[in-house]
Symmetry: C2
Subunit: 232 residues, 2 copies
Amino acid sequence: MPEDRYRQFCPVAMAAEVLCTRWTMVLVRELVAGSTRFNDLRRGVPRMSPTLLSKRLRELEAAGIVRREPIQGESAYPGYELTEAGRDLAPVVEAVGMWGQKWVEAEPSLANLDPGLLMWDMRRNLDPTPMPAKRMVITFRYTDQPEERRHWWLIVEPGAEVDLCSIDPGFDVDLYVETDLRCMTAIWMGLTSVRKEAGRDRLVVTGDDKLAAAIQDWLGLSPFATQRKLSG
Amino acid sequence: MPEDRYRQFCPVAMAAEVLCTRWTMVLVRELVAGSTRFNDLRRGVPRMSPTLLSKRLRELEAAGIVRREPIQGESAYPGYELTEAGRDLAPVVEAVGMWGQKWVEAEPSLANLDPGLLMWDMRRNLDPTPMPAKRMVITFRYTDQPEERRHWWLIVEPGAEVDLCSIDPGFDVDLYVETDLRCMTAIWMGLTSVRKEAGRDRLVVTGDDKLAAAIQDWLGLSPFATQRKLSG
DNA sequence: CGGGATCCAGTTCGATACTG
DNA sequence: CAGTATCGAACTGGATCCCG
């Protein structure tokens, strides 16, 4: 590819050549968030074609941002790990995200909802520490979604990663959350809260009372949810 | 244009839709640095076609980052001014530039030198305060450049913006700086210093002794020159 | 000077299908 | 799971020209 895109000696231009190609910043966000597998990355950027994802990963590798490394106890395929230069992109992603949260109108973005992507993000940010130290299963039901995207299960096993299923894993369910996708997404983004939406009956939580009471504690929000919106 | 590029509700993706299109980050750097005129912006992004520059400016306006505003005492044409959202991009540009300075190899970039761009940047960052309070004229001579890009004049008038000329303005010259373009660019980027290069006879300063002695003080460097390079 | 339009050739991207 | 292949559509760059 033309590595001489801007041909400027300015550091901003030099960095932008690597970082500001289509999808790259979003992909870097996924990497900074910790995904290392091709298919995990795909779930984080579901609208990016695998061809382009593969190409971008090779570019990031050439730029010294990721490194292919076998991951013990996993597939024989090496994963994509951030190098030190890659980990050092965290402040860049943070600055971009904070600006976006503060200044980009959320409405048009809330027209592009995706339950799979939302659940994938929630899975990653869920905090099990305020939960009882046993397996907890939480079901989400998005009343406005078509059957095949309506039901989701988060399975929290003590000491393990949170699991996400879109087909019934068959476990007893400890908590049910029923709402529409837009409402849940707005909560995730910090634009509103569980309490507020429950009060308006746009969200209903049933099941284990303690789990329900602590929902705002274990339900991790978007890393940018703390930044107040100013664009309006 | 397709405003639905990524179709993700994540703030990073929302911001990247606006900021991470081709040339946009570099253009934003120019705006954050203070340029407000179409042709001034062109000097900062000389390899960007005017068509694309115009298009990007309209996109930034639609995104609420710039605003067209008449500038008093100047041309009847309105300039491009940053809005509050636009000024708030300074930390983003800073983060990107710092990362670039730290991690992107400078060598390939030093193959893409441009005396006009370098002088334009130097003009902007020159600090007249350590200079005598009268008109000072400094001539740069880039020994490796073809005749028409070899000679440059910076004219510092107290209380006014620094002027840049590529044709002899006819004033008496207070200081001559003679070197090659690569050396001067490396100094500007903080990869080396005037003292070091003068010691190697790669740079020669003649004229007003006081002005010469203070050169490292008034010769502003790249805003990213303080970040040490680690990519090597 | 300041700002933009047009045309064309070359690149990049998206959608979808497919392989080991 | 981890990617390739393919092809039309969209975007970009360069050159050139235009208008007030």
